[in-house]
């Protein structure tokens, strides 16, 4: 039989048909399984392949002054990031990221350490573009755009960038922003690697509400990692801007202070509304430009700031402690009045003849020829040390310490700014016991404490709180910039007429006493000068004043370090007050430099010396008086203090 007999052919054909159908059914089942049954898995994989999430940073909330004028704003800036490739393992992705980084390194001025930083960022958040340059200048951006094809995965996007229109005017108040650190990521929740967070100042204090919620967009990338386009907008999550922070600051006043603050001097000025505690201005000098911190501070600028002997990053209003000097005398007077030990017209047994003999030591008054016989009011006006030595003795150490502690002279004011230093003051007599031994000291310490020297170092904010109480009804209102602090507030417990008497004394200070240069024709200013001994050079000058004296609306304190040429301090404060009250500042424009007469006498060493265990680590400590009379036979060491 022929092998091509139709019967045989049909038989073979049937087998062939079966084979063909069998093969196609297997293939069909294969596709059914892949496309229908495993569709979800492959769809996900295809999306992961092509989509990369890119964070859209939320603009930080703006910070305004009390009138809505902007202190901290956002402007568009460029960030440069790199996406990893589609490599299957993290190590392979890092390797490809490295090659890409090396390609852009010359353009974005990235050294090998910088490359490692970017790789570390990527390791923390794989699948996200790794930030290469936070605030890229436009020429760099255009150069990169030209080379986009050579560098796969390049993501250049505009991101809101912090901008401080007044740059250094409110630097310490506002703080600055910077990239979140590894440590912060562990401590605070809700932060993503690479986020910009507030550092210092209001930016730090209100970071959580200022920060807002980041958005995300998805871009499509090719197999090589080139960004092709934005993915469909449905997958886009818009960033939500942070909440605006409205401060109590008066920008006009703040600017004015920055303008008139003596150039090149170190110090601080702080203004409060005595009736509410609202901070109207807070200025510290020298300052810095917070704009230069945005997008990563330049190492040379950082070195300049951190190594400068002037410590420009220190907020001298709340972080630096100084001996309060004669500004303390109002605290002494208030304590004595409250306890009924004296009245405003009480005279002391010993008239001022230039000093006071106490035990075997002679305590000087700043005025060598003496003030003669004075009432309390006159003693305040003339800032007579001899009067206050005797007042201190009358009051007694225990009462002094008790009242000072009760009025908060060793606690923070609670201002809503980070990093406030607590003032230093003994908590009680056991403080001296601990330091010198129970019998190692005498009640003579009260003499030094009475004139604002000794174991007493106050911040500008804490001294201002005393004058705020004096300027209002005697109750403390914790200073605040945005929200007042909660909790019980101290009070002076003085009768209204006692308060009025003290104010009258302070008016006399300006009109006839030590701050005559601060007098303004139309406005009655009350205030008190002070001089803090400084072992490192010229003394520090204080002036704290308020006005109008009959119904105070503003209390302004200022400290200027090394105000050797006589405090600019009182006229400075007077001009600030005049500016705020809208008085004609030309009245105060006769910027008479009046040498303050009440330079504190050198502190008399009455306690045994202690070895210096503190070292010179921080500036506030350095500003404490460390030396005493050069002719004093006792060699004096700075006392070690408990923090």
């Amino acid at each position: 039989m022929n092998s091509f007999h139709p019967y045989l052919l049909d038989r073979r054909l049937r087998v062939a048909h079966a084979l063909v159908w069998g093969a196609f059914v297997v293939i069909g089942v294969g596709f059914f399984r892949t496309q229908i049954l495993e569709h979800g898995r492959f769809k996900l994989q295809s999306e992961t392949n092509r989509l990369r999430p890119i964070i859209l940073p939320a603009p930080r909330g703006i910070i305004t002054d009390r009138n809505g004028r902007v202190l901290a704003d956002n402007v568009p800036g460029y960030t440069v990031s790199l996406l990893p490739g589609a490599e299957p393992t993290l190590d392979a992705q890092i390797a490809s990221l490295r090659t890409r980084l090396e390609r852009v390194a010359p353009l974005v001025r990235l050294d090998s350490a910088g490359i490692e930083r970017v790789v570390a960022r990527f390791r923390r958040a794989p699948y996200q573009p790794a930030l290469v340059m936070a605030d890229a200048p436009f020429p760099v951006v255009s150069q990169l755009e030209e080379r986009r094809l050579l560098v796969p995965g390049l993501v250049i996007q505009t991101e809101p960038k912090r901008y401080y229109p007044d740059s250094g005017v409110a630097a310490h108040l506002l703080g600055n922003v910077g990239e979140v650190t590894e440590q912060e990521l562990g401590q605070r929740s809700g932060l993503r690697p690479g986020a910009q967070v507030g550092r210092d100042g209001l930016e730090r204090q209100y970071d959580d509400s200022l920060r807002g919620a980041d958005g995300v967009r998805f871009v499509e990338v090719s197999a090589l990692g080139h960004v092709v386009r934005d993915a469909a907008s449905s997958t886009r999550l818009r960033p939500e801007a942070g909440e605006a922070v409205h401060t109590t600051i008066d920008l006009d006043l703040q600017r004015y202070i920055a303008r008139i603050f003596p150039a090149g001097q170190r110090g601080a000025v702080m203004a409060l509304n005595p009736n509410t505690g609202e901070v109207l201005a807070l200025y510290s000098a020298p300052g810095f430009d917070p704009n230069r911190f945005v997008g990563g501070v330049d190492p040379s600028y950082w070195r300049l700031l951190s190594e400068s002997p002037a410590h420009p990053l220190l907020d001298r209003a709340i972080q630096a402690r100084y001996p309060p000097g004669s500004t303390w005398k109002l605290a002494m007077a208030a304590m004595a009045l409250k306890r009924g030990i004296v009245t405003l017209h009480t005279r002391m047994p010993i008239a001022c003849r230039g000093g006071l003999q106490f035990g075997n030591r002679f305590f000087r008054c700043w005025m060598a020829q003496g003030h003669g016989e004075l009432t309390l009011q006159e003693a305040i006006t003339q800032s007579c040390d001899v009067y206050f030595y005797q007042l201190g003795i009358k009051l007694g150490l225990t009462s002094l310490l008790e009242d000072a502690n009760g009025w908060g002279f060793r606690t923070r004011t609670g201002i809503d700014l980070p990093g406030e230093s607590p003032p230093e003051f003994p908590s009680g007599t056991e403080y001296f016991d601990r330091l010198y031994g129970p019998r190692g000291w005498t009640s003579a310490v009260v003499l030094n404490l009475a004139i604002g020297q000794g174991e007493n170092a106050q911040t500008l904010a804490s001294m201002l709180r005393l004058y705020q109480m004096l300027a209002s009804d005697g109750r403390a209102r914790p200073p605040y910039v945005v929200h007042p602090a909660e909790g019980p507030a101290a009070a002076l417990d003085l009768a209204p007429e006692q308060l009025a008497g003290l104010r009258q004394a302070m008016i006399s200070v300006v009109q006839r006493g030590t701050a005559r240069g601060a007098q303004l024709g139309s406005i009655v200013i009350a205030g008190k000068t002070g001089t803090a001994q400084n072992p490192h050079g010229p003394n520090h000058g204080w002036f704290i004043g308020f006005a109008p004296a009959d119904k105070p609306e503003i209390v302004v304190g200022a400290i200027i370090e090394f105000a050797r040429e006589g405090p600019y301090v009182a006229p400075l404060v007077a001009r600030v007050i005049a500016r705020y009250l809208g008085a004609d500042t030309t009245e105060a424009s006769e910027y008479k430099i009046v040498l303050p007469a009440d330079t504190a006498p050198h502190e008399v060493q009455i306690l045994p010396a202690l070895p210096d265990t503190t070292g010179r680590d921080t500036l506030p400590r350095d500003t404490l008086p460390r030396d005493t009379l050069p002719r004093d036979t006792t060699h004096v060491q700075p006392r070690s203090r408990t923090r």
Partner: protein
């Protein structure tokens, strides 16, 4: 002219045109990517190749089966010469830069002789079997077709084009089967190859060897053939490992990646993984014509040649896949019908050989896109970009059209 067209086998013509248009549409889409690519405009060149193929099919159609039968040795000889020439001056090209399968014709045009040789082998084997009265019953009788296939097989193998080489073997077995060779003989013939694969597991190879030994005794074939089969199986078991080592690394990787694509996800397995992702993410209705993201963003490799069916799967979904497969089944069934009704043995064998060739290409190419079969890189008829294979397919269809026309002319009736 139009009369002639009307006399053509309409199902074959129709399904061919449909496949050519479908393929062209897929190729156009393959060029639509978001990443700069050189394949954006190749669909225009594919049209040129289609025109060339149609002209060639027309010419082939004019040649009677007798002329074709007479010319077979010359075509075969010419093909062997081109294959030899390729070994000397061949270059790599396109997505197959690792092989040396092309002869540069000048300008951008290159010829891939291996594709033409497939048709030549079909003609030559058909010519050998055409005048046989009875099917080959012994191994000795299979020597001649074996050599006819072995020569181009080795030449193509030497070009490192494993896929095409396997197609030759498939053609041989298809045609031997159509001639009427006993399946037992075919099984014994193929047994050394199976043994080669099983040799990687000693136990599996041992079982296979005992089975072959039993079959040889059961079927009581000629002694020397039995000895040859058993010896060949033994040798395969021994040489398997050296043979494996002789394979090029990319060939080894393809086999390994087939077994487990995740072995080397970046290099070889990448193709399979991305192809499956493309097809799987297409789902039931697909992502839309030209909109496949795997293809657009260059995740899919060789999307215009080896993996063009993945583009279909991704963009047109399961529906598109079933439509394409239906067209392919129709093509195969129509060709089988033509082979069945052919007026003479030579024509029938040629058409069946062509069917076997196309079937092998379709199953292998489509199968590998979903990891049913290892990657061999052979083109999909009418879909993959490539002039040589497209023209070969057109010529093959031309032959089939002529055979169908002859049947119709001779007043075919079911005998």
């Amino acid at each position: 002219m139009f009369n002639r067209v009307r006399e053509l086998d309409r199902p074959l013509l129709g399904v061919t045109v449909a496949l050519a248009l479908f393929g062209l549409a897929a190729l156009y889409s393959a060029g639509q990517t978001d990443v700069p690519t050189q394949v954006t405009t190749i669909w225009q060149r594919q049209i040129a190749f289609l025109v060339l193929g149609a002209v060639l099919a027309g010419l082939v159609f004019r040649a009677s089966p007798r002329l074709v039968e007479w010319a077979a040795p010359y075509v075969y000889g010419g093909a062997l010469f081109l294959l030899l020439l390729t070994l000397v001056i061949g270059t790599g090209a396109g997505t197959a830069a690792g092989t040396k399968s092309w002869i540069v014709l000048g300008g951008p045009f290159r010829l891939q002789p291996a594709e033409l040789a497939k048709l030549a082998v079909v003609l030559m084997v058909a010519r050998w079997a055409a005048d046989r009265r009875s099917p080959p019953a012994t191994m000795r009788e299979l020597m001649t077709p074996g050599v006819i296939v072995l020569v181009p097989f080795l030449l193509v193998w030497a070009q490192h084009d494993l896929g095409s080489a396997i197609v030759f073997v498939a053609i041989l077995f298809a045609m031997l089967y159509w001639v009427g060779t006993r399946p037992a003989l075919l099984l014994l013939l193929v047994s050394p190859a199976v043994g080669l694969i099983l040799a990687f597991s000693t136990a599996a190879w041992g079982a296979w060897f005992l089975l072959i030994l039993g079959l040889v005794l059961w079927w009581r074939i000629y002694l020397w053939e039995a000895v040859a089969v058993v010896t060949a199986n033994l040798i395969m078991g021994v040489v398997a490992l050296p043979f494996w080592r002789s394979l090029a690394p990319y060939q080894q990787n393809r086999v390994l990646a087939f077994l487990n694509p995740l072995v080397d996800p970046r290099a070889t397995g990448w193709h399979v993984i991305q192809s499956r992702v493309a097809i799987g993410s297409g789902g039931f209705l697909g992502k839309g014509y030209t909109l496949g993201s795997q293809k657009r963003l260059a995740f899919l490799p060789a999307q215009h040649t080896d993996f063009i069916f993945s583009v279909v799967g991704e963009e047109l979904g399961f529906v598109g896949v079933v439509a394409a497969l239906t067209l392919f089944i129709t093509l195969i069934l129509v060709l089988l019908r033509i082979a069945r009704r052919a007026t003479d043995q030579f024509s029938s064998l040629v058409v069946f050989g062509i069917t076997g060739m196309l079937f092998t290409h379709i199953v292998e190419n489509v199968g590998m896109t979903v990891n049913l079969l290892p990657i061999t890189g052979i083109p999909l008829p009418f879909f993959s970009y490539g002039g040589s294979f497209l023209v070969t397919c057109c010529a093959a269809i031309g032959v089939a059209l002529r055979v169908a026309w002859e049947s119709r002319l001779s007043g075919y009736t079911e005998r």
